[in-house]
């Protein structure tokens, strides 16, 4: 059991992104095996694969921000003297927070538009699928906020990290 709240958040998101990927793999394999071995082609697999990809992106984007997989161009910002690189790293985290905070309500509205639709094959209400964008924005907001707070409290330099020990 993770001791720190941030470690629990990381573990939760890692589990969720892994689960989304597992659903994607399962769904594709059902399609391949169904067609080639059992001579049956389920219609729902393509839809489930697409939905799994949307949630894989949604849960994974915050972690990719944390690990640095969400690439940036730091050749200028990191070459500056003194505390300027630190300040720009903070500006970067703050800008991410601002973008995501501004997009939370629009993402919620977009999810609600899905209330009027259901997916053709699975019959799922599309608000749950459109909701992947809300999760995406929320996950990015959460990890950017964690980094900004860790920098403000002097517990992080604001650089990408891949271990679960750094509080961001």
């Amino acid at each position: 059991m993770p001791k720190q709240p941030y470690a629990a958040v990381i573990a939760l998101f890692r589990f969720a992104v892994g689960l989304a990927f597992a659903v994607l793999i399962f769904s594709v394999l059902v399609q391949v095996l169904g067609r080639s071995v059992f001579n049956r082609s389920p219609v729902w697999t393509e839809e489930l694969t697409r939905f799994a990809l949307l949630y894989l992106t949604a849960f994974g984007v915050g972690l990719s921000y944390r690990s640095g997989d969400l690439v940036n161009v730091d050749i200028v910002s990191e070459a500056l003297p003194g505390r300027l690189p630190f300040i720009l790293r903070f500006v970067s985290a703050a800008a991410t927070v601002v973008l995501c905070a501004a997009l939370i309500v629009p993402s919620w509205r977009f999810a609600m538009i899905g209330n009027f639709q259901t997916s053709p094959a699975l019959g799922w209400q599309m608000s749950y699928i459109h909701g992947a964008m809300l999760v995406l924005i929320g996950s990015l907001l959460l990890f950017a906020l964690l980094r900004a707070l860790a920098m403000l409290t002097g517990r992080s330099e604001g650089r990408p990290v891949s271990d679960a020990d750094t509080p961001q």
């Binding site: 910002s77 970067s92 800008a95």
Partner: protein, 425 residues
């Protein structure tokens, strides 16, 4: 005014070190606010950008490459490459390039290639007397072959942007990829002769056979991927997932070098890498939509065509522009933002979309090895424990080679269009 805000925020955000995806989002948001367009357009366009059938294959190909990478293929591929070309002057340098070509058929990204091959080859080359700067340079330069030889993440992205099938895109990159590899081997050999680099003794056909058998299961994945796509029996997504299952079986059960306990971490890390690419695609789709609504592709085309409508010069201008952008911008981001405007320009002078897509990807791959932000250059200099400057000097002849191949592929469409036409038409 709104357009100036879009470009200003984009350039400022990149310079400040804000992640490219976030910068694209910020610039788009500022544009929408200044133009009075509701922000709900953003999640809508992001959703539409990610929910594209072709992109479903990206996580699968990344996972297949990572599983193979953790499953002990690197040493086997290098052993085979050594047995093939290690006996020639500069043999380890040639093995390095050959290894990248073989590895390129398994992994879809250049950085994975640079890190995997470099991790083994650079220390190995230094140990037998190769200069560290040359060892790092040849590894970085040859890693650009990877994304040209199928499978290739950038080619999948281009497929999603242009509507060209992934199978065609993969086949279009194959010959330029092989050409690039051969050209890099020639360059390595010439440098090796001039600088009197060592060579290893010929290890005999028995070792060649043994090393081939040892690497067989890894190399067979390339055949599985290409065969799966070309046979029409599987979609790119299905091919990618089947390749992942295959890589899992090879790594865990055949080679026995991938502990089962490690698999969940590899799966999750691959998902995170994929999420970064897909989020970038999502944010870039909003940005791209704004560019199209502002008729930027047409404006770029008209501006260039007002100067010249000579096909030769337009191709040259596109290449110079992409080489410049590739020096500063991440490959996939550059592709997503610039592909559509430049395709419009290229098509207006009669360039085939498949041909354009191939030389655009090849061009941006070169950016991975050019200062100041060439990722592969940094990775290899880091492995060699060298500052960037000597590696930049050592990579210069390889860059020249890359540019010669780029010009060949740019001015002779047959390199990119012949194989797809042969197979698909």
């Amino acid at each position: 005014m709104s357009l100036a805000i879009l470009i200003g925020v984009f350039v400022g955000g990149l310079a400040a070190g804000i992640p490219v995806a976030v910068t694209l989002g910020l610039a788009s948001m500022c544009y929408l606010l200044s133009a009075g367009i509701p922000l709900v357009v953003m999640p809508q366009k992001m959703y539409a950008g990610i929910d594209v059938f072709v992109l479903l294959s990206i996580p699968g190909f990344i996972l297949a490459g990572n599983l193979m990478n953790h499953g002990g293929i690197t040493e086997r591929i290098i052993r085979l490459a050594n047995a093939l070309v290690g006996w020639m002057r500069g043999g380890l340098g040639l093995s390095n390039v050959a290894g990248s070509m073989l590895f390129g058929g398994i992994s879809g990204t250049a950085v994975a290639d640079a890190a995997s091959i470099g991790g083994v080859m650079i220390p190995g080359m230094k140990k037998v007397g190769y200069p560290g700067d040359f060892s790092a340079a040849v590894t970085a330069a040859s890693s650009t072959v990877g994304p040209m030889i199928p499978p290739s993440v950038p080619m999948i992205i281009v497929g999603s942007l242009s509507g060209i099938s992934v199978g065609r895109m993969f086949m279009a990159g194959a010959i330029p990829g092989i050409l690039l590899g051969i050209a890099m081997m020639v360059t390595t050999y010439v440098i090796a002769v001039r600088r009197d680099f060592p060579h290893q003794p010929w290890q005999g056909f028995a070792e060649l056979g043994r090393s081939f058998l040892s690497a067989f299961w890894a190399l067979a994945m390339t055949a599985l991927i290409v065969g799966g796509l070309l046979s029409g029996m599987m979609t790119p997504t299905e091919t990618a997932v089947v390749a992942s299952v295959y890589a899992f079986i090879v790594g865990v059960f055949i080679y026995g070098e991938l502990p089962l306990m490690k698999v969940p971490k590899v799966v999750i890390d691959s998902a995170i890498s994929s999420a970064a690419i897909l989020a970038l695609v999502g944010f870039a789709n909003v940005f791209g939509w704004i560019l199209v609504s502002e008729r930027i592709p047409q404006m770029v085309a008209e501006a260039v065509l007002s100067v010249t409508d000579n096909k030769f010069l337009v191709i040259l201008l596109i290449n110079l522009f992409l080489l410049f952008i590739g020096m500063f911008m991440e490959t996939i981001a550059a592709l997503i933002v610039l592909f559509v405007p430049l395709l419009t320009l290229a098509q207006s002078v009669g360039v085939d979309p498949l041909h354009f897509a191939t030389f655009a990807v090849l061009n941006l791959m070169i950016g991975l090895t050019t200062p100041p932000v060439g990722v592969c250059l940094f990775v290899c200099a880091g492995i060699a424990r060298l500052p960037l400057a000597p590696v930049v000097r050592a990579i210069a002849p390889f860059l020249l080679t890359n540019i010669i191949v780029l010009l060949l592929v740019s001015y002779f469409p047959v390199f990119s269009t012949w194989l797809p036409s042969l197979i698909f038409d």
